[in-house]
Subunit: 334 residues, 2 copies
Amino acid sequence: MVDARRADVPVLIDGLQYSNWSEAIFRQMNAVGLACVHVTICYHEDFRETVENVIAWNRRFEAYPDLIMPGRTAADVLAARDSGRTAIIFGFQNPSPVEDDIGLVEVWHQLGARFMQLSYNNQSLLATGCYEAEDPGITRMGRQVIAEMNRVGLVVDMSHSAERSTLEAVEISSRPIAITHANPAFWHPALRNKSDDVLRALGQSGGMLGFSLYPHHLAGKSDCTVDGFCTMVARAAELMGVERIGFGSDLCQDQPDSVVEWMRNGTWTRAKDFGEGSASDAGFPPQPDWFASSLGFANIVDGLRTVGFSADDVARIAGGNWLDFFERSFGPAP
Amino acid sequence: MVDARRADVPVLIDGLQYSNWSEAIFRQMNAVGLACVHVTICYHEDFRETVENVIAWNRRFEAYPDLIMPGRTAADVLAARDSGRTAIIFGFQNPSPVEDDIGLVEVWHQLGARFMQLSYNNQSLLATGCYEAEDPGITRMGRQVIAEMNRVGLVVDMSHSAERSTLEAVEISSRPIAITHANPAFWHPALRNKSDDVLRALGQSGGMLGFSLYPHHLAGKSDCTVDGFCTMVARAAELMGVERIGFGSDLCQDQPDSVVEWMRNGTWTRAKDFGEGSASDAGFPPQPDWFASSLGFANIVDGLRTVGFSADDVARIAGGNWLDFFERSFGPAP
């Protein structure tokens, strides 16, 4: 495996992946120097089903102790970096593992979850998803759950939520929130990308945006260039502040198309939903050639320097900002 | 036990109860001639917990075969009447037993459920509850689930839902829906009571309203008179049509106050919610003396005659309308 690490990037962090986990993928993470990946352990699963996904990760930690380790704190990320491994942080793209029981918020923090989206495309018990026709904002239960997440140190993630719900989450949450995987709509006006209003509110409140490498979120989709991507990062840095941005690739490496169909449809509909795709283009879109795996982060780091970021800013964007955010966010409220 | 049956009421039906079930309560139902009671088997329970409530009812059917029997069709109600028993129909006040799995709609019909509220006070995955600040209407999943409920013969109940969601449910559902337990807001403007717009839409679409005897839904609350109640019924009959109304007493006989606290708070909040009550009046309100148990239906039947309803109309309101509605609603879509 090529060593793609960059000496000018002290900590490299990916704010979201949902790959078809394997030794080969973990070795790519190590090779590029990823000290941490936030991995999705729930799209539609309920409490018990998500526990099964924790068990699957526990088996992986046992099987590949030289490649990966559990990540629950910023210190774990530094320990992973120092031993050449990748710390794995758990998160949910849907609040379904909390079901309708606010007591499960703390239980999930105990089990290692550190991010939870308040909604995934559809209306949830807490907030509205970006595919609903109407967005009434944070619900009664949502206000209670945000307070509880703030208390225990489970980060609110609004990547798949609708605009008003997202702005209200920024406002209601007493601690900064995250949009772990999305891009600015000014660059590519996809339903999942975020308005200037949202990005500005996120930046001003001390939150974080992770830039997505999922083709439906990229200008030019699969044909997007690394230069185009890095130019967008520079504009976002001006809008939000260079301390408020990082990566959240949304990489779904080696997944069959049945997985994206399940992501979109779960068990909530009998009609077929195509999400960001369409009937004629229903599967996973091909990744840009410069980001086919985690190794592509080396290309992005080069690209960020090319568009003019200083070495310090590249280090921030590549992982320093996420590390600071983890430090502030994952413990109990002060 | 007094025989409180009325010869002029061929079928007496209560469209909702959640009592602390006992032999004494079943004997009162039989004594007043209740051929059918729709009982709530879920306020906050998930699929598995609600199955536990089905098991509890299966044990009651076994223990009291001379008093109660399962009710799944209009024919079951007539069989109960003919044998002097009460048919028990299952329903949910919250769609939580369907979780996020549309396949559970048909499973619940197979297990005997015949009514399901799309929301209970709060926002659900399907619709908005009457205590939310905003009501965006029926959600994406809600539209799918209504179609599936229509297909299998599970009745949409909007008793605890917010106004816009309710009007949209009437519109979206291809079969008439019900509001099993609420009163007109023109009589008592409680949050749970229904506007003229809702009542008119419900009546015109062939739906049903069950009049509540829960004190928070009554003008004068616990001091409401039977004459006041029956005068309200007469006004509602003019608004909706005398074929569109029945009873849905919301009787919670012999329940401790811990039950109303659980109804309001479930596990969704860490702050205390008082619902229709208040911190200083948190428990179940006392029933009017003329409706302390199912035996009170005899007083209401008298009252309906006193305010001028014909014997035919009394028979309709007391149960004939619900029976017709069950006949049209509980089987698969034609």
